[in-house]
């Protein structure tokens, strides 16, 4: 056995494993660097160095050998996303404002061209001039004109000097070095050039064989960070919210924009914007009700079953097995099955009850359905932990209370329940936090609905904060990731605060005994 932990074999195995992990991380690091994700690249590089240092040295780093993997994962998958979310919550980060400012300037410039009145295009051949710069041989067949054009020069070529193909397209001219398709495919520098044409118009090699005539309509001036419309002189300035806009008409702005810091605007929107504030408050209230009701009902039902089965009854083992079946089944499947059972037309529930209730069309029925399904999914967990907790309570306490004359109810209320709370309080709090963010249940069962779309409602009756956030971030064609991040941060602080408060309270309960 020591072979695997000491000696040359162990060292060899360690180096091989470290090498493979390092190779994968370095590959990811290189990829991240290439995509200009410098923070991720830096973290991966540090992780590789840290890993090698910790696992290739002895003694001083022994504790880190155990802590390092967990620490790296904690940083990568918990701390970094939290920081990223907090940072993004202070940005105007939504559809239309996704890319960086540099990219936006590049895109606005590229889009700030317009074709000539006739949408003129020419057959072109791409090559290089004697000077080595990109040059195109243009065939204006309609006007029987042929010319060579570079970025700064244009020169007609007599037809007699040209070699043309069967479609009258010029393929060769004196002093013009034509480049092959293979060469052009390796270097598309030719497509970035504005080849000289008439007046303000230029030719762009849109494809290797086609040149289109354009003129620039928007020009960027880096010295004062503005775009100017060359046709009407209109100036567009950085509006501080991620767009170049007309200062006299803020609704007139250039696209695309970029993600720009807007500090606390997203948070302020939750309070000041009626369209956001109303649904947010309604969703928040329902989220709290949903989480509290789910925990209370699941705990009460689970405890009831645990108490019932805590006594020696025939078939207890079988009952216990059956009761944990809902817990053993993947919740995803359970939720989808319940969704089918609540179907108005074909659902088992309406069939059994002999009703025709549109469970997911009516707000109250939909909420009742959500609570019922969450009870179904949650009670086995509370049944299990309550069973364990009940068995951990010394029987002497109950016996002593009985000798002192306490009846069953008094024993339960004064001894069993407080002791249970002492043991289960952290789990109840954790369950509350889980249900506060129980996205799967809402998304799969009701989709957050019903929603009065025709009334312009943007949040459904069963939407909880996390599903509402998802809807804002990804649920429609216009995504507002900044606002969604702000709500996520609020959820984080709410859950953290409630959990901390609950944990403190549970310490108070510890003194009860």
């Amino acid at each position: 056995m020591t072979l695997f932990f000491k000696g040359r074999f162990a060292l060899f195995a360690k180096i091989v494993i470290l090498s493979i992990v390092s190779a994968v991380l370095l590959m990811l690091c290189q990829s991240a660097f290439a995509q200009r994700e410098y923070a991720i690249a830096g973290f991966l590089l540090l992780a590789v160095l840290a890993m090698n240092y910790v696992y290739l040295t002895n003694k001083r780093t022994v504790p880190f050998k155990f802590f390092l993997p967990g620490t790296l994962f904690l940083v990568a998958f918990v701390i970094a996303p939290i920081i990223f979310t907090v940072v993004m919550s202070s940005y105007n980060y939504k559809t239309g404002n996704i890319i960086s400012k540099e990219e936006a300037i590049e895109r606005v410039s590229a889009l700030g061209v317009e074709p000539d009145e006739n949408g003129t295009t020419f057959d072109i051949v791409i090559g290089k001039a004697a000077s080595g710069e990109w040059e195109i041989l243009v065939s204006d067949i309609t006007n029987n004109r042929y010319f060579l054009s570079t970025k700064s020069t244009i020169a007609d070529v007599p037809i007699s000097d040209l070699k043309r193909n069967e479609f009258q397209v010029a393929t060769e001219a004196p002093g013009f070095k034509r480049l092959s398709a293979e060469v052009l495919s390796q270097d598309e520098g030719y497509s970035k050039i504005q080849y000289k044409y008439l007046g303000e118009y230029f030719i762009v090699a849109d494809q290797p064989e086609v040149g289109a005539v354009f003129r620039q309509t928007l020009k960027y001036h880096p010295e004062n960070d503005t775009f100017i419309n060359l046709q009407n002189g209109q100036v567009y300035r950085d509006n501080g919210r991620g767009n170049y806009a007309n200062p006299s008409d803020k609704a007139q702005y250039l696209e695309p924009g970029w993600r720009a810091p807007n500090w606390f605007s997203n948070y302020a929107k939750l309070v000041t914007d009626d369209k956001v504030r109303g649904p947010f408050i309604r969703v928040f209230i329902w989220t709290v009700i949903f989480a509290v009701l789910t925990v209370l009902t699941s705990f009460a039902f689970g405890l009831l079953l645990a108490l019932a089965l805590n006594k020696a009854i025939r078939g207890r083992r079988m009952y216990r097995s059956i009761l944990i079946l809902p817990y053993a089944m993947p919740s995803l499947m359970s939720i989808l099955i319940w969704a089918g059972m609540f179907d108005t037309e074909f659902g088992a529930i309406n069939n059994i009850l002999g009703t025709h209730i549109a469970w997911f069309s009516d707000a109250n029925f939909a909420r009742a359905a959500v609570i019922l399904v969450s009870l179904w999914l949650g009670f086995p967990y509370f049944y299990l932990i309550s069973t364990g907790a009940l068995q951990a309570i010394p029987s002497e306490l109950n016996e002593a209370a009985a000798i002192d004359g306490a009846n069953g109810r008094q024993i339960f209320n004064k001894i069993t329940l407080p002791l249970l709370f002492q043991i289960l309080a952290p789990l109840l709090i954790a369950s509350f936090a889980f249900n506060f963010n129980n996205f799967n249940l809402i998304y799969l069962l009701t989709g957050g609905g019903p929603k009065e779309q025709l009334e312009g409602q943007i949040a459904g009756a069963t939407d909880i904060l996390i599903s509402y956030t998802y809807q804002i971030a990804f649920g429609s064609n216009t995504q507002d990731l900044g606002l969604a991040s702000a709500i996520s941060v609020i959820i984080f602080f709410l859950v953290a605060s409630i959990s901390l408060y609950g944990l403190r309270k549970s310490k108070v309960l510890e003194t009860f005994g």
Partner: protein, 418 residues
């Protein structure tokens, strides 16, 4: 110990370097990457590979995603240089992706443009610039079961009368239902047949951005044809598409709106392609969205240094009659290019849907339909109307007024994006 660390680190670095070289991915120079969903991807790969020289000097790699949603998710998340050069996508991606700087405009010559119906460019344009090539037509058409109905209905009322007369004797589950395209996209032809278009088209083929449908007329038609005397659904038109396809195939629904991507399922079950637009209440036809899917040029192509090559692939393959005919012979949808639509390789189903689109198709304009400035976008508000009236038994005229106001607001807001 230091010595041991250095030796060990050197060994790790050497092995990692060699392993890293073997596994490091690279965007090969001169390689055009096309992203597509699980049905289009394999078909595109097959057709493109069959003729390797669509763009001289470039190689073409088709990346297939497991579903359309997975493709959308990947494209939404693409940033820096991680995106494709071309993505085969739905037309309603254009406004948002162009707005976010992920798409690059395409310039077509006059002859290339002439190969398409001008309205198809509506779908793939944003603020006057074209961002892709129409690849195939996505539309619905109404199929009728000839075992139940001997001839094509002349009007919406004919269908309702048939349903009422035969509901019990033939154990009909519904009269007309939506089997393809859902209660918003697929059901537009029913809205339109009853008098509510998402936007009105002028005779010149432009959009009337001033007027919307008449809610009183539409609401009255809903009341007359879809509700009973108590204001309850008469069962002719269900508010949900659940079970529609199965019921039609089982012979318990005489009329169904089906999508052109699934006609093979009906043929396989022995149905003839009796396709037509949904007849309207006044004898015309309800308008259906004749949208196109597009091969969209991305800004990633420029970052990869293959923008010109990608444009050539769009023109030489996606916009050409030969390319579309070869592709649609495998894919089975109606091609968008005129040259390809007359190809002998097309099936009766593809031609039937093409005819229906020609009779009653209107362009699907994302600038209006995706817009929610009116209070909700078309996709959410349309099914909400059916739910409100057919399930919740709300007043069809009052709800129609809300719907008209929403759609009118969306058109007013979206017209600047055209």
């Amino acid at each position: 110990m230091k010595n041991r660390f250095m030796k060990g680190f050197a060994a790790v670095a050497a092995v990692a370097f060699v392993t890293g070289l073997a596994v490091t991915p690279a965007h090969a120079a001169g390689e055009i990457v096309v992203w597509a969903d699980e049905t289009r991807g394999p078909n595109l790969a097959k057709v493109i590979a069959a003729k390797g020289d669509w763009v001289a000097g470039y190689t073409i790699k088709v990346v297939t995603y497991s579903s359309f949603d997975a493709l959308k998710d990947a494209f939404d998340k693409a940033s820096g240089t991680t995106g494709p050069d071309i993505v085969v996508a739905a037309n309603d991606w254009v406004p948002t992706a162009a707005k976010s700087g992920k798409l690059a405009p395409v310039t077509l010559t006059a002859s290339q443009k002439a190969n398409f119906n001008a309205t198809q460019f509506f779908d793939l344009s944003y603020k006057g610039k074209l961002y892709g090539i129409p690849v195939d037509i996505n539309n619905v058409a109404m199929i009728f079961n000839t075992k139940l109905v001997s001839s094509a209905p002349k009007s919406f009322g004919d269908m309702v009368d048939y349903y009422k007369a035969n509901k019990v004797s033939k154990n009909l589950k519904a009269g007309l239902c939506i089997a393809g395209g859902g209660m918003s996209w697929g059901a537009h032809s029913v809205f339109s047949a009853l008098g509510a278009d998402a936007y009105l088209m002028t005779k010149k083929g432009t959009v009337n951005t001033v007027q919307s449908f008449n809610p009183s007329v539409f609401g009255a038609n809903v009341k007359k044809y879809l509700l009973d005397a108590n204001g309850k659904s008469n069962g002719f038109f269900p508010a949900s598409d659940t079970g529609c396809k199965d019921n039609f195939l089982a012979g318990t629904v005489p009329f169904a709106v089906i999508g052109n991507w699934e006609w093979k399922d009906y043929v396989a079950k022995g149905f003839e392609m009796n396709l037509m637009p949904v007849p309207s209440v006044n004898g015309g036809y309800g308008h259906m969205f004749g949208s196109v899917s597009g091969a969209l040029l991305t800004t990633f192509a420029d970052k990869h240094g293959v923008a010109a090559g990608a444009k050539s692939l769009l023109v030489n393959f996606f916009a050409s009659g030969a390319g579309q005919a070869a592709y649609q012979a495998v894919e089975g949808r109606p091609p968008a290019a005129k040259e390809a639509s007359s190809s002998t390789m097309l099936s009766a189903g593809q031609k039937g849907f093409g005819s229906a689109a020609a009779l009653a198709g209107i362009p699907q304009i994302g600038a209006f339909l995706n817009n929610n400035k009116g209070g909700a976008n078309y996709w959410d508000s349309a099914p909400a109307y059916w739910t409100a009236v057919l399930i919740d038994r709300k007043n069809p005229v009052i709800e129609a007024r809300k719907l008209a106001a929403i759609w009118k607001g969306n058109v007013a807001s979206g017209k600047s994006d055209l």
